[in-house]
């Protein structure tokens, strides 16, 4: 058993729902107990969709367990087909139904429905949401994609955009941003999938020259299969950040056999100038901890260091299958990657790193609140506020603008930071309160160490701005412990500062 206060991913059938809900003309019949329909809310409330997800649940109860739950499934599948008339159907079990082993795939096949019925095997006690989405998309592509057709003479190069789903972090706007970029390069988008695609669209995937994989966690498996069996190359670069977007343009141009120079010359992001402008000087060396899915965490680490001048003091992801890439990316910064799906382990890593800014998920916002550290969200899981009405891509050049605004916002503005360093006893602008442009104050981080502090030193510590105070306390205590100093005095504090100054 794993003690989970928060979980980064849902169970794998949620991943399957994200694929089904993203698509049109596909229905999902899910063998699940009463109550698992909570998942509908993810789509109708968190993502604010105006239609019910195309999912029929058997919602069995305890009294059904003594009877024929298989018959419940058959009835639900038959009724769903008759009512919704989908082009194709996926069938599967949730975690509880997996335990009762009714074999939805076999039962659905036996119904002899006149449409493709694709069974899903999603091991709920081993795998998680993104794996479930990847597996579902792969099964659909494998089951429905027709062999590639030869490209007609003179046709513009074309690609598929693979990976965006329902309930994806900014998938809606990323697709628009990247499709726009591809359009300006003269590359046609054949099919975008799963978001907005029908089963008939999946059948025409083979007509594209190559695939653009926006979210490898979801489309990686399907893209690898398409590369193997249809010979379609897939992009590797994730266009998050200015530099990555430029590399993406070059990669796509090479696959399409066109010249990237015009687009590279014509387009850039306002974020580049914002970051170079003198107002951003104080961002240099800000200590940042990055955590999220592998795609967003790796991209954020690069943007934070290369494009904003932050210092990376922590990098991690719950996408265990990308452990190697994460460790590689962490190495140049002299840190160990935190590859875990345990919220408590992430919290401990953040506490140890004492960052000034956390770039993470909705879960890191809990930790950030507890520790009083500014935080911005870069990756799922996210809540309703991160499915905004306004255009908010993470990808492409406009995405870079969004990242600049979003990440800098929680930090204390430069002038306020300076004045706090000079005058610490203002009754309104207090060092231990939040940036004044954000309103309410955070909670003071709990004192972690065991060393005794002399009253005078403790007072002095209190004068250090709150966003670096935790680090100063830890450094001083470690310094004292290493030298066998029992009581930390004013001198110890400043000795440590001189010794360990960043």
């Amino acid at each position: 058993m794993q003690l989970a206060i928060w979980t980064y991913e849902g169970p794998p059938h949620i991943g399957a729902m994200r694929v089904a809900t993203a698509m049109e003309g596909l229905h999902y019949v899910l063998h699940a107990p009463q109550g698992d329909t909570y998942a509908d809310l993810l789509f109708t409330m968190i993502e604010r969709r105006g239609t019910r997800p195309p999912v029929t649940y058997t919602t069995f109860q305890a009294r059904d367990l003594g009877g024929d739950t298989a018959e419940l499934f058959r009835t639900a599948a038959r009724e769903a087909f008759e009512r919704f008339r989908p082009q194709a159907m996926i069938v599967g079990a949730s975690c509880t139904a997996e335990l009762i082993q009714d074999d939805p795939g076999g039962l659905a096949r036996a119904l002899g429905l006149p449409i493709p019925v694709i069974p899903l095997e999603l091991p709920s006690y081993q795998k998680k949401e993104n794996w479930g989405a990847a597996e579902t998309f792969y099964r659909l592509v494998r089951g429905l994609a027709a062999p590639p057709a030869p490209r007609p003479e003179g046709r513009a190069p074309s690609c598929n955009i693979l990976g965006p789903t329902a309930l994806g972090f900014r998938h809606r706007d990323d697709v628009r941003e990247i499709a726009g970029l591809l359009g300006r390069m003269g590359i046609a988008v054949n099919v975008t999938a799963p978001l907005g695609a029908t089963p008939a669209d999946l059948a025409r995937l083979g007509r594209a020259d190559f695939n653009v994989v926006l979210y490898p966690e979801i489309a990686g498996t399907a893209a690898a299969w398409l590369a193997r069996t249809h010979g379609q190359a897939a992009t590797k670069t994730i266009p998050i950040g200015i530099n990555a977007t430029r590399e993406f343009i070059a990669e796509v141009a090479a696959l399409a056999g066109i010249d990237p120079a015009p687009v590279l010359a014509a387009e850039t992001s306002r974020a580049a100038w914002y970051s170079r402008s003198v107002d951003s000087n104080y961002l240099t060396g800000k200590r940042v901890f990055v955590f999220g899915d592998a795609t967003h965490a790796l991209a954020a680490a690069r943007v934070a260091t290369e494009e904003l001048g932050f210092a990376l003091v922590g990098l991690g992801s719950y996408s265990r299958e990308f452990g190697r890439e994460l460790r590689e990316a962490a190495k140049p910064h002299g840190i160990e990657a935190t590859v875990t799906d345990d919220y408590l382990a992430v919290e401990a890593a953040i506490q140890a790193a004492q960052p000034e800014l956390i770039l993470g998920t909705q879960m890191e916002r809990h930790t950030a609140k507890r520790l009083g550290i500014p935080c911005a969200v870069i990756s799922a899981p996210v809540h309703v506020q991160d499915y905004p009405a306004r255009y908010s891509p993470q990808m492409g050049f406009e995405g870079a603008n969004v990242l600049f605004d979003t990440w800098v916002h929680p930090l204390m503005m430069g002038l306020e930071e300076h004045l706090l360093g000079m005058f610490r006893e203002d009754f309104e602008f207090r060092a231990d309160s939040a940036p004044s442009h954000l309103g309410a104050g955070p909670v003071e981080p709990a004192a972690p160490g065991s060393a005794r502090w002399a009253a005078e030193a403790e007072r002095e510590l209190g004068r250090i701005p709150f966003f670096v105070r935790g680090k100063a306390r830890r450094n001083t205590e470690r310094y004292a412990t290493e030298r066998g100093i029992g009581t930390i005095t004013l001198e110890t504090l400043y000795d440590a500062k001189a010794h360990l100054s960043r």
């Binding site: 058993m1 979980t7 109550g35 949730s94 509880t96 006690y125 916002r365």
Partner: protein, 426 residues
């Protein structure tokens, strides 16, 4: 009208004998685990540890995760593949997780092991686990268990199961007293306390208490009032310990609150004049507050999808005090005995339905074209997109709605979506 109207209404059959439409099919409802979302706030030193799957953990954070917690008071022990291999191992694993949790949260006094569908299906014996853990962690922490699984409980029944687990913990106390059962907002609880004190009814205790140590006593002297309609099992266990239920409608609206208070007043032999003196001001205040919303709501047709078992008392309040016309009143379970007083007050032409086949119910709803649909969040936005005004039902469980001084707020919850539709010009 209040008392008089109630007396007149009682002999009228209302819906007491009406046939109930019983359906089976997809049920679009929450499981009992969701009760934790309000119970963990109510009992402040309790912790709720769900023993379940990633789905259970995901449900909880999807429902509660929009609040940013410095330190949440619920968590999930997620069953993994290796736990499914053998039960003995699962028990050791559970002990380890509980130790880990209690080390992190030394302030916890009451720990609920909450059963889920997976833990019920593999028959993990959580009551044995609870007594084993009690032996280890006594006297600092008391460990109890209940099931909030979807296969056994629907939404608010999770609270019933939780309170039922507390009943055997209540010390035997033969002294007479009034027990109010059902988690109420603190403000409502305090109002009720003041009213009972003014009526000379007491001592009054509440279940659940705000802190684990404040669990009231129980015995043959105790009369209890259900503040919520979904407490069948809790009531049964309280009666098994000698307490007696005071039959009453539920304290929603001016009429419901007066009738609810009267049930206690009659049991305590409070003179009618005294009762009127104490309740008149509150009841009048409630009627004034309700009257503001009567205009927009009177004559409007309302359709209830099943959710919390509050549907019947709400339909009674909306029809009698606001003039609304219930088309269909869906409820996940209909406890005829606890709802007898409510059913008698419902308009005779309302269709009652128990259980659900959600697609067929949606067909009926679309055909009836009600002015307002009370439903869960899985249906609300899709119905809004189809042009229906909806009131999402979960809010009724999270908002102070009981008692005189919340009657206006309760009416407003139903008036607001209609008002909003009239206001918006986009």
């Amino acid at each position: 009208m209040s008392g008089a109207a109630l007396a007149q209404a009682s002999p009228v059959p209302g819906c007491a004998e009406a046939p109930v439409l019983r359906e089976r099919g997809q049920r679009e409802v929450f499981c009992g685990l969701t009760g934790i979302i309000w119970l963990h706030r109510k009992i402040q030193d309790a912790f709720f540890l769900i023993v379940g799957s990633r789905t259970c953990a995901h449900l909880m954070q999807s429902a509660a995760g929009v609040m940013i917690f410095a330190e949440p008071r619920f968590a999930t022990a997620i069953i993994e593949e290796r736990d499914l291999a053998g039960l003995a191992d699962a028990n050791e694993e559970l002990d380890r997780v509980v130790n880990q949790l209690l080390a992190r949260r030394p302030d916890i006094r009451l720990l609920f092991l909450v059963g889920s569908c997976p833990s019920e299906v593999i028959k993990l014996d959580l009551s044995r686990a609870a007594s084993r853990l009690n032996a280890t962690h006594a006297p600092g922490v008391r460990v109890l268990n209940y099931s909030g699984s979807g296969i056994e409980t629907t939404f608010t029944q999770g609270e019933d199961a939780c309170l039922a687990a507390l009943v055997p913990e209540m010390r035997a106390d033969p002294a007479p007293g009034l027990l109010v059962v059902g988690a109420l907002a603190e403000v409502v609880e305090d109002q009720m306390r003041r009213l009972f004190a003014a009526l000379g009814i007491g001592p009054v205790a509440f279940l659940p208490p705000r802190r684990a140590a404040e669990l009231p006593g129980i015995g043959p002297g105790v009369r209890f009032l259900l503040a919520q309609p979904f407490l069948a099992e809790t009531a049964r266990l309280l009666e098994a310990r000698g307490a007696r239920r005071l039959a009453a409608p539920f304290p929603l609206g001016a009429e419901g609150t007066t009738a609810w208070l009267r049930a206690a007043a009659e049991a305590w032999g409070v003179p009618a004049t005294r009762f009127r003196e104490v309740t008149a001001i509150g009841e009048q205040r409630a009627r004034t507050a309700i009257a503001r919303h009567r205009g927009p709501l009177a004559g409007r047709r309302i359709f209830f999808f099943p959710d919390s078992q509050l549907e019947i008392p709400l339909a009674r309040f909306l029809s009698r005090e606001l003039g609304m016309r219930p088309v269909e009143i869906g409820t996940p379970y209909l406890h005829r005995q606890h709802l007898a007083e409510e059913l008698a007050l419902l308009p005779a032409d309302a269709v009652l339905s128990e259980g659900q086949h959600v697609d067929r119910q949606l067909d009926r709803c679309r055909a009836a074209r009600p002015d307002l649909v009370v439903c869960g969040l899985g249906l609300a936005n899709p119905l809004e997109a189809e042009g229906f005004a909806t009131k999402w039902s979960i809010e009724l469980v999270f908002t102070p709605i009981q008692g005189y001084d919340q009657a206006g707020d309760l009416a407003e919850l139903f008036a607001r979506p209609l008002h909003r539709r009239a206001t918006l010009m986009v």
